[in-house]
Symmetry: C3
Subunit: 489 residues, 3 copies
Amino acid sequence: MGSCCERAAQFFGPQKNTNVRISLPAVCFVWQIAMVILFGVFIRYDEESDVKLWLRFKQEHNITSDIDNDFYFRYPSFQDVHVMIFVGFGFLMTFLKRYSFGGVGFNFLIASFGLQWALLMQGWFHSLDLETGKISIGVESLINADFCCAGSLIAFGALLGKVSPVQLMVVTLFGITLFAVEEFIILSLLHCRDAGGSMVIHAFGGYYGLAISWVLYRPNLHLSKRLNGSVYHSDVFAMIGTLFLWMFWPSFNSAITDHGDGQHRAAINTYIALASCVLTTVAISSMSQKKGKLDMVHIQNATLAGGVAMGTAAEFMITPYGSLIVGFCCGIISTFGYLFVTPFLERALKLQDTCGVHNLHAVPGMLGGFIGAIVAAAATEEVYGREGLIRVFDFTGSFANRSVGTQGGFQAAGTCVSIAFGLVGGVIVGFILRFPIWGDPADDNCYDDEVYWEVPEDEETLPPVLEYNNHMIHKHQDISESNFSVEQS
Amino acid sequence: MGSCCERAAQFFGPQKNTNVRISLPAVCFVWQIAMVILFGVFIRYDEESDVKLWLRFKQEHNITSDIDNDFYFRYPSFQDVHVMIFVGFGFLMTFLKRYSFGGVGFNFLIASFGLQWALLMQGWFHSLDLETGKISIGVESLINADFCCAGSLIAFGALLGKVSPVQLMVVTLFGITLFAVEEFIILSLLHCRDAGGSMVIHAFGGYYGLAISWVLYRPNLHLSKRLNGSVYHSDVFAMIGTLFLWMFWPSFNSAITDHGDGQHRAAINTYIALASCVLTTVAISSMSQKKGKLDMVHIQNATLAGGVAMGTAAEFMITPYGSLIVGFCCGIISTFGYLFVTPFLERALKLQDTCGVHNLHAVPGMLGGFIGAIVAAAATEEVYGREGLIRVFDFTGSFANRSVGTQGGFQAAGTCVSIAFGLVGGVIVGFILRFPIWGDPADDNCYDDEVYWEVPEDEETLPPVLEYNNHMIHKHQDISESNFSVEQS
Amino acid sequence: MGSCCERAAQFFGPQKNTNVRISLPAVCFVWQIAMVILFGVFIRYDEESDVKLWLRFKQEHNITSDIDNDFYFRYPSFQDVHVMIFVGFGFLMTFLKRYSFGGVGFNFLIASFGLQWALLMQGWFHSLDLETGKISIGVESLINADFCCAGSLIAFGALLGKVSPVQLMVVTLFGITLFAVEEFIILSLLHCRDAGGSMVIHAFGGYYGLAISWVLYRPNLHLSKRLNGSVYHSDVFAMIGTLFLWMFWPSFNSAITDHGDGQHRAAINTYIALASCVLTTVAISSMSQKKGKLDMVHIQNATLAGGVAMGTAAEFMITPYGSLIVGFCCGIISTFGYLFVTPFLERALKLQDTCGVHNLHAVPGMLGGFIGAIVAAAATEEVYGREGLIRVFDFTGSFANRSVGTQGGFQAAGTCVSIAFGLVGGVIVGFILRFPIWGDPADDNCYDDEVYWEVPEDEETLPPVLEYNNHMIHKHQDISESNFSVEQS
């Protein structure tokens, strides 16, 4: 591939400067050093992970056994979420024929930075002790940090192959910041419930990425068309990402839900919704192709829409068949999105969305927010019980008198807030990314690992040392292939 | 590849109609809508996942803490089993050079449908409240639903590459139904113990798939011989499936065992049996080849036989060295199966078994059933203690007076029941699948994703249709590469 | 490839005999039978996995509920560690273009043998009941057995592609034995703390492998240069290993730590250290290449160094920013190691280290040991509290009066002991492996699965249907490759 890029250069005049040898290390070092300093100033262990505090905590709450530490009731879910963030998102983005390194590698880079920044941002908003000025972290903070990264990783999906790692670090820095703010507004001020983050993660992340991509529109992107597609094995790699996301989504939606029935119910609802989502995705994918062939793009992505859309309602009493219906509809909507909406957005709105996050995150996330609003508004004492309503919607403190109707209204409002943050924030970040200093690739050079990675010579493309035999073999292959076709026909 | 299929058509006369554009969406929609209705009528949250019931449950059993919810003691095992079903089985079946999409994709489809149908079938048999007419589901139901799918996924292994997705949906519909019935007979009526499902899952699923495959025998399958094999990378993909199955098998065999020593012991026994199985598999595989080279087919499959065979006995006091011996023997038997039995079955019995489920599931499952019978019959009060015997074999209620000898007899009987269900059920389903309406591939067209998937054009293998451009492109590559080598040097 | 091996023979005189058809099965059978006998004599279920003992245990400690069984508080961590051992280490070693079968397959073989031998060795040293002469095993024993294997798998990394499976079995037999001894000395006699095994696992395993590789130096290894590298997809496979190691490392370092705050803290510290390690690895990798391109070798390996270095200190109160700094430094050191130290070792010390375990395990492990020593020595009552110090450093029994300073000294001593065991043991084992009876590959035949595996014909190389052209192409390939090897040599 290398060669063809260089050739393209000769064709299309001077290459953009994609050298990130100064900028990338600079950004990594500066931001990592900042993290060290800020962690030193602010971050401490919480009362369940600090030995002194834990021993005191046990006395005060006369806990007799160490196995009552919350670690044992959050950590398995944390590890599932962790796998989704690094393997799930990472491998889902390996589907491009020549951008697998970038897909999984840059995902690895920005998630690793993002989770550090997230620990700080979320700490300041949610667990800052105003006396000591310290943030306490425990296993639940780690889950929230991973969640926080998800927003930026979703945005990465829309930009895949068109930006430099330096730009991605900027996207993440602002993405995490915006996330923490909107999350604070939605969860704390509006007192919305959003266990699996349909609003705060998916709707926000999706529209954030789309807005950035819209600002970074490349009129000549067709010059990289040859690389904007998959090969057989890259599609199988992407299925690794799809399946780990799909399997662990019940953990994602239940990871930070209240202990007990809440987590239990969230896992069941998500499991069911995802299952029905697969069948409708397959149905629409097959209907859409002459001969009814299935399209890997749909199987890799639309099958997950059900999990996204259950993000808010999963902890509510949506009922199992309610979950089935949500998955049923989202499979259809998301697949239609891949078939018609994404191409339309590119033609009409000049919006280039590499992974189709519009169909997998933005729209299902928004729907999930509104589904949550409806389910909340429809909650009855008969179903939840008096205590149950208070428990599920946390109608305590200053929200003790809130009705389920009001709650539904706030849930809907929260969804709009997250979308607004995504769109506005994305546009601003987009313009920042248009400065010509970030080392982004040229239009004829997108979707190509050659630009930012040392790519090994593949056997298949025989080493350049042997033009001659190379040529001979090719000629023979031609013969063989023609005979081959004879054999066949 | 595409082209060669079409050309093949011209050669072998009118192609079979493999167009599933109507049938596949129809089946998916009809069955998914049926699921929605049936879930609406029957399925409710159980007392640990319904907020109202859980709060009452806590009062009644005066449970003080939400972390006593069974969710926390079943969910990690559930997620391991979930990974086995979707990544384990799915990737194990990606080994064919051109059927990786079908292997992992169809596995995804039928498991997603199967688990919904399984929740209903198992609910009707095991947890139907006769007063309310409702089924209560919780995390343990999810594990059982996944188990239930395993039977049909095993059957898929025998049919891999030779059937259409519509046929697989039929196989799954009947497979789940038969499973629920035989499981009810074996576990409830015969009161057998079968923690890891050697009998109810593996023996049943294996013989079910073999019987179907036998009825669907294709005399001219050799026409697809060119595709019935692996390539280097597809074998590595298959190892992902093998390893996740192998690693999580202790969770599989312990997932629904009684809490406490039962689950603990089941995990240990399976872990040990699998370890020794690997060594004997390697030994036989190496002995079987001149120069002692190892065969990936054996490493990918026979190494798992130890886990299958421990499915029943894992929760018993088989002792660690007993587990070692089980693994030791199964590695040998299974590898011999791949070397001699599968080819023999194909020659003599006209039985085409793509993945060799006969050697990995059918035979080890049957053995596991009989091993369980022997270990049960050999149980003594000295080893288990009086209480222990009652606890492990659940000698309560109407079975209070059953002796271990009788139990052993029933375990053996149960194994025969599962095999009978597999064989008879498989033959019937096989004949249903022979109707010419299911869009199955032609004999020269098997093991080929081209038939049911939009397959991307691979750079490496340019389709033979374009000898000319092919040639042109090569010429260009030569040029480019020469420029390139200049660049380099 | 096949052809080229045979041809190489003609070039470089009589091939070494790599036939392991007798030796490999012999070793597997002999050692597996030995395991069966030794398990029969020594190994029993412990009081939490034996039904009789568990029921008694519950009475004695009046435990009311089966869910207090330690299984539920160790098993999730065990499964994470299990994934690291088999998928993590296994796939990390698939990066070579033609040694993926060997990387993942031999890892599977030796880990499966190793964990059995480890259960015995560690049992004899740590849990042998001197009255009954029996070893009791439970879930914690399984974790320790997996840990024990890690040492030998690390050594495998240094030898990758240059040894036969029989040699690897020998490496593992001695590796496990040495491990158990050094672990006993370090943990029991010196009373060191080493939760994640920086010393006992990584420093030992790294230097053990390096010493063996040094003794087995191959002056003509350049003859296999053509295969000592990756291709595009093999690098993506290796990322599967990297990510599963990276994600589950917090479980690795916390798996056998004391329940409660200890495990909680170990997980947090490791999570943080690994995150910062990624950023500095990327920074150095980018700086090191003209144009700032990233090198997959660094991303695959150096990103993990932070987890290795936190192995000892993770359970201490190192503070979150302390962990960040550890990760920060190790990313830099490890990447520099890949850039400069490994090539230097090969030139100057005649030390061939295929996976660069020197930079990923040996050095970070050694550093981890000393970091642990420093953090221990710096521990204060103010931070830990009186009880806390006793709890974390287990200053009980005969060690009740040990000061943190002394503890620091012993930690440092322990690190030296582990390195000494690795170096001396490795040299001895290396000489044993130099006997000409082990079937190791010739110098021009390394890094090649053809030697020990039945490798499928890849489509790319040639479609099986066409004997004739097939033949022709071969002839031409011979020419091309012979020129090629001339080019190389």
